[in-house]
Symmetry: C2
Subunit: 395 residues, 2 copies
């Protein structure tokens, strides 16, 4: 085999690793990708009817404070000056999110100063008996932000996200609820933020575009009918695996829990459906958690003025065949994760990386940062044949 490194999965972790290996060590890299396109969940496609860029696996906003990541990604794309903000509809009224001084003053019809608002929320939070705070998510939430804000902005949304009544969720899943006592309603507060100027697909393609990198799409690592499957490769060639950790080990230590999202995408015959890119819906009797309207991610583009693409999001627990999106992370999950980590140590020359391979929610910049540093520490020295470079040690 004329391959120095095989990477399973062409998401941002896999692509970053491939690029570094190809450029830094001059390695010949083969990427195996199950889907029919590269890029993992960051991928986007152009809606054929409207020409609007649709984030295929849910809205992706790029943001980072990591200078190395920022410089790395800027080799492949420039970024627009889009700054993400989110609104929420609760009981027939729209409010800015995350809950901030503007939300509070709107909700209470007031003009409180930061200190006044802080004092008000503290007094409302104190209304719950101290001993009860740890009973469940609801009592905990009230002890943090008071009942009025909790009911309006956290209770219904959480119930829908978890398909569970907040009184039946453990208090432990929340340690703080975001409330800001300024009018700042930036969703992220990183140094750099924006959307890839020519879209995600173009960015991801450029990362993969290197003579040393070969990609095979529609190729499942566990499909033994194709030559690059697990049993044919493991131990024979250095391997980076970014698929689901439990799947790699045939679920031998149990299934890790994930939440997934169902998207209901629709072209609407109006120029502007909701006036903003993301509208949350806090009411429990509205089945979806939020609606994305993709045109608002690129106000600078010349999109049609009489059509728009929206996607309603419905949150639910993932079955084995669903796309795994957010780790659930119960105590039982964490135990299984530790067991899988033990197994992983014994896999010869396999590095488990990325969101699925480490069972960690990673934002894009974190996936990239993780790939960069694990290349530096493990894959790079090994490929360059440095003295004492041991694949397994840190993997």
């Amino acid at each position: 085999m004329d391959t120095d490194l095989v990477i399973v999965g062409s998401g941002l972790f896999g692509l970053t690793m491939a690029r570094r290996a190809a450029e830094d060590a001059g390695a010949r890299v083969l990427i195996i990708e199950k889907r029919s396109h590269i890029g993992g969940n960051a991928y986007s496609h152009t809606d054929p009817e409207t020409g609007i860029e649709v984030h295929t696996y849910g809205a992706h906003l790029f943001h980072t404070s990591n200078e190395r990541v920022w410089e790395f990604v800027n080799r492949f794309t420039s970024f627009t000056n889009y700054v993400h903000r989110v609104y929420t509809t609760v009981d027939g009224v729209v409010y800015p999110m995350p809950v901030n001084l503007g939300t509070i003053n709107q909700f209470f019809s007031a003009a409180y100063s930061p200190d006044e608002a802080r004092a008000l929320i503290a007094s409302q939070a104190a209304e719950i008996d101290e001993g009860r705070a740890d009973e469940n998510f609801r009592t905990k939430g009230i002890s943090l932000v008071g009942e009025p804000l909790f009911r309006a902005f956290f209770e219904g949304y959480t119930a829908k996200q978890w398909q569970t009544d907040p009184e039946d969720l453990p208090a432990s899943i929340v340690s703080r609820l975001p409330v800001r006592y300024t009018y700042d309603n930036r969703y992220f507060s990183d140094t750099w933020e924006g959307l890839p100027t020519d879209g995600y697909a173009a960015w991801l393609e450029r990362m993969a575009d290197h003579p040393n990198i070969t990609i095979m799409c529609d190729t499942d690592f566990f499909d033994e009918s194709q030559p690059y499957h697990r049993d044919a490769l493991v131990g024979k060639v250095p391997l980076v695996y970014t698929g689901p950790l439990d799947r790699y080990f045939d679920y031998s230590r149990g299934e890790l829990g994930w939440r997934t999202i169902d998207f209901e995408t629709e072209v609407k015959p109006v120029g502007d459906f909701q006036g903003t890119s993301v509208m949350n819906y806090g009411d429990r009797d509205v089945a979806y958690t939020r609606i994305h309207e993709f045109r608002h991610f690129h106000p600078e583009r010349d999109y049609p003025r009489d059509k728009t693409v929206i996607a309603r999001e419905y949150s639910r627990f993932a079955g084995r065949d669903d796309e795994p999106y957010y780790p659930v992370n119960t105590d039982a999950d964490r135990e299984k994760l530790l067991a899988y980590r033990e197994l992983a140590k014994d896999e010869p020359k396999v590095l488990f990386g990325g969101r699925l391979g480490t069972y960690k929610y990673l934002d894009m910049h974190m996936a990239i940062a993780s790939a960069l540093s694990r290349y530096d520490a493990i894959v790079g020295p090994y490929l360059r044949g440095e003295d004492g470079a041991q694949w397994g040690a840190l993997a």
Copy 2:
């Protein structure tokens, strides 16, 4: 005299012109500045008690879509990623400005879509008899945005800005009132925006820092007790004048009207007074038009957490000895302006530039752009001694 060009006024127009003349034509430039510091109205100082940067002549936000200007200013300073937003307090409630879909939905306690909101405002605007729209500012305003929004967000503020009842202001001063049917509440919509990373004073100093540029502060061009006064210079050396146009001609064609602002600056013993950089006050019984809180311009800086600097702004007509800030621009003003322009044509080798010298409200980037292009067209060719370069022609 070993000076190739004299510039009256060290504001952004004067500094840009000086820099170009010094660098491009190698000219020896002398800048005469009346104040004890350079930079004109863009200047800022550090509040001695708190270390907070205070914009000495009112809040200055840099924004531009002009690439040449952006490249030019970036030679002297980098810019933070600050994005300006403004809120307003009306009748005891805080709303986002400029009036947008968020303001409308908050004001009407609703969740209107863009089209629904547009239809509502159009129907409210239609309530005024068509013939009455041009009667005065108030009827005109109502015909544009309807009475509820006009009363809440435009009437009181305008009355305070102009010290005049909107019913007594002409309809002609307004052609549109800003209402946005999205949630976008960016105050500016230029490609580039931000604040100078090390502050305005450092930026302006760096512009002036060139071996060919000499600056004399505390030097009034009309003060005949100092050598560089009008009568000593005009006709003898090329001159760029950025002071008030009417003052140059001894008010011989009458005074041009300006509005000015009184600032009431105060250090408050709280970490955060109002939670945002600019809060407007729409109610007529609140004397000030807005309050600035300077710490919020630089959230990235390490400012004290127990003190803050605010400035209340009061708007009024300027007398001859007040700082002229905004041109009033009545019909009478425009007539005087034309008369002064006639006089200006006969001034030998004097170019009238900038905000005061042209009686035009210029944002910083416009003052810079204007200086760059007038250097290219007039001052540059003249200083380089190009064939046929005529100072007066275009000035």
